[in-house]
């Protein structure tokens, strides 16, 4: 039986680019399809570039190349040893058509490689790699993602993922939409601006231990609340920084994973779900797609030590924690999360990397990784990772 997943599906840019969306098979669908025949797949190596506000000297290929080299060295694999290569990126960031193809210059795709791309965050490329490994004919996959948010106006660029007829002409950018969402949340129930500031303070504090983070340090919650409003009810620190960066991982199946590393981060469950494109029909104070993906991935079936959540805005972390049912005992975003560094198209894959890294170094036994895409948490991916 052939299970074919393909990129581009569900991409918020698919409509803009005129690409025909292709249906993907969700993890749950794949599970139903394959019954008990699911293969164990793990993250066995990771690499990332430092997060920079503006990488003025290097182009995308020059940023990506050392990350790919370091990754393959970590796994002691050559490109020839890798069964499938897949990337997640967005040409709109670079402002160049087929930028994702030129990025292959960093890989060395000769002799010809089996390769794919999603016009989405790298977390969805990782999902495609996971599905591809389920086919059973290959044992390794390389996933990479890159994004320079600085060359263009990232707020205008991300606005183009909205409905082109009714919404884009008004240019409601991601910060404006996040502010609407935060306002709805603040007015719905027990969430306060102080809760949001606490997310920011913890994020900056955690980021002190992350050599790759962009914004870090000890900040006082009261001090944060004294900052002026940026776009009410958001203060500047409630919003993510603008970041350039790249990241990559290698996935391996079964014994191949154990051969590459002593402690692989096994993907025990992975699923992604999407909510309607139209913001008007969604309850922005909740994330039902995250909840559903979390249920299918099995978040609740064991104790969670660490959760890396892609919440670009402080209030979104609160929404996501609720949707995933993460209690106070969970260490959320030990890396600092997207409030500390937010390379668009990379930040979701980075959440998986940061979660996996904590399994691989033995500091956690069970971790949850989350990635988001689209306006105001429209589409969400959840993975559960475990050590052995």
């Amino acid at each position: 039986m052939v299970l074919r997943a393909t990129g581009k599906a569900g991409s918020p840019f698919a409509a803009v680019l005129g690409r025909r969306p292709v249906r993907t098979i969700s993890a749950s669908g794949a599970a139903a399809y394959l019954g008990e025949a699911m293969r164990d797949v793990a993250i066995v190596a990771t690499a990332q570039s430092p997060a920079l506000r503006k990488e003025e000297r290097r182009n995308e290929v020059e940023i990506l190349m050392p990350v790919i080299h370091e990754l393959r060295e970590n796994a002691k694999l050559d490109q020839d040893d890798i069964g499938f290569t897949v990337s997640g990126s967005c040409d709109y960031l670079q402002g160049q058509p087929f930028a994702f193809v030129t990025a292959l210059d960093a890989i060395g795709p000769w002799p010809p490689i089996d390769e794919s791309h999603v016009e989405m965050d790298g977390a969805w490329a990782l999902y495609e790699a996971w599905v591809r490994l389920q086919h059973g004919d290959i044992d390794t996959a390389l996933v990479y993602s890159f994004g320079k948010s600085s060359p263009g106006d990232i707020r205008r660029i991300l606005t183009l993922q909205l409905d082109p007829y009714y919404l884009v002409p008004m240019w409601p950018d991601p910060v404006a939409l996040a502010a609407l969402q935060a306002r709805a949340l603040l007015e719905s129930d027990g969430v306060s601006e102080k809760d949001m500031a606490e997310v920011v303070a913890r994020s900056r504090k955690h980021a002190k231990d992350n050599p790759n983070a962009q914004l870090k340090g000890d900040v006082d919650v009261d001090q944060l609340l004294n900052e002026p409003m940026y776009l009410s009810p958001l203060r500047k620190h409630d919003c993510p920084p603008i970041t350039d960066g790249a990241a990559a991982v290698i996935l391996a199946a079964g014994d191949k994973a154990r051969e590459i590393t002593d402690r692989p981060a096994w993907i025990r469950g992975i699923d992604h779900r999407i909510e309607p494109h139209s913001l008007g029909v969604r309850d922005l104070t909740d994330s039902p797609s995250t909840r559903k993906a979390g249920e299918v991935a099995g978040v609740g079936s064991g104790k969670v030590d660490v959760a890396e959540l892609y919440a670009p805005f402080s209030h979104q972390e609160i929404i996501l924690r609720r949707a995933l049912g993460l209690g106070d005992g969970v260490n959320v975003n030990p890396s600092g999360g997207a409030l500390a560094a937010n390379a668009v198209m990379v930040a979701g894959l980075l959440r998986v990397i940061e979660a996996a890294q904590r399994i691989m170094d033995g500091s956690a036994d069970r971790a949850v990784a989350h990635a988001t895409s689209g306006p105001a948490l429209q589409q969400n991916l959840v993975a559960v990772l475990e050590g052995e």
Binding site: E55, E56, R57, R58, N59, V61, E62, M65, I68, Q79, Y92, Q94, G95, T102, L104, D105, A106, I107, G108, P109, W110, K148, S150, P151, G152, D153, R156, I157, L160, P164, Y165, V168, P169
Partner: protein
């Protein structure tokens, strides 16, 4: 609501501006051009010389820094087209020839205008050399065009791998 078959046309102006990052390799190349030098970069693995390198050998995925080659301003026209149809922003009057020039010692061609020869005599294998602007800067427009050297045409075998 409009009747079936009718529609409303909405003008939706859309513009995105970018700061282009040339990158380390293209910066080295463009700084060379500003000194009337055409610098290639050699791949340490396969030995191919890239002109206007984007920083890596696209075959091997390794950096081409450290393999600088000062290339001659002379090469072979591998392929070309004669432009007969005017288009917006055109800077040269039709008809004119534009082609790929494989510099001697390079493995990837540069694009340029072919002049000082009637456009209907432009041909594959033609030997050409660069004609520079009086004022040069970090832009390929510093090369005004390419003109025939008068040498005999290059043998097809010498450039067939670069088409």
């Amino acid at each position: 609501m409009p009747e079936r078959g009718e529609g409303t046309i909405v003008e939706r102006p859309l513009r995105l501006d970018y700061d282009y990052t040339a990158g380390l390799a293209q910066s080295r190349f463009l700084k060379g051009i500003a000194q009337k030098k055409i610098l290639g970069e050699r791949c340490p693995k396969c030995g191919k010389v890239y002109v206007g390198s984007r920083g890596s050998c696209p075959t091997d995925g390794v950096a081409t820094d450290g393999g600088e080659v000062d290339l001659p301003h002379k090469g072979t026209l591998t392929t070309f087209c004669v432009v007969n149809v005017p288009f917006a922003g055109q800077s040269v009057e039709c008809p004119y020839a534009s082609g790929y020039i494989l510099l001697d010692g390079a493995d990837i061609p540069l694009m340029g205008l072919i002049q000082e020869i009637p456009h209907d005599q432009v041909r594959m294998g033609l030997r050409v050399e660069a004609v520079w602007e009086d004022e040069v800067g970090p832009t390929l427009q510093s090369i005004k065009y390419w003109k025939p050297t008068g040498e005999p045409d290059a043998d097809y075998e010498t450039y067939k791998m670069h088409l």
